[in-house]
Amino acid sequence: AQSVTQPDIHITVSEGASLELRCNYSYGATPYLFWYVQSPGQGLQLLLKYFSGDTLVQGIKGFEAEFKRSQSSFNLRKPSVHWSDAAEYFCAVGQPLSGGYNKLIFGAGTRLAVHP
């Protein structure tokens, strides 16, 4: 079965500093990978996704992620964090099901705090 691991439960950075959130997945074939963000009291919003092609993916809000097959990783990065980036970040992998359907398997999330 597929799984997603986010090793860091909680990360704190200073505003303006760079950010990297780690994500490791377990899947035999080429995975479909996603990063979602959940602001306090809100639903989840898609930041970016990877299916194939260029392993460096650009997303919204200045985020990017790099797919590294050799490391089974899909880490999320941002060069300069803003206070409004404080939120919960979820990595997810798409798991194909019979009948052409699929479901998302989420990691446990990483809570990002930003110091002024």
Binding site: Y32, Y36, G41, Q42, G43, L44, Q45, L46, K49, F51, E88, F90, G94, Q95, P96, L97, G99, G100, Y101, N102, K103, L104, F106, A108, G109, R111
Partner: protein, 114 residues
Amino acid sequence: DTAVSQTPKYLVTQMGNDKSIKCEQNLGHDTMYWYKQDSKKFLKIMFSYNNKELIINETVPNRFSPKSPDKAHLNLHINSLELGDSAVYFCASSSQVAVYNEQFFGPGTRLTVL
């Protein structure tokens, strides 16, 4: 213009009661989902419907029964509520049953069972 809406936003109830959560999407999507987020923020899919047909049914107690009256609505009815049902429940929708299509999430319903 809320894309995916859920009602109520908060729900506080006693053990043993029956309650429903409603979800509506105005995106024209044909696939809808229910997720449960526990107190540790772990998010797990419960059900998925495509064109009113149940396509994903995880190992959820049969006290949980989804109902899809049409493509735009997916309601969740919970019988005999238990303390462990306390969680945030998210509805989501997507345009196709394909993993590469973005799922749009509602704001969540925080259910507290006393």
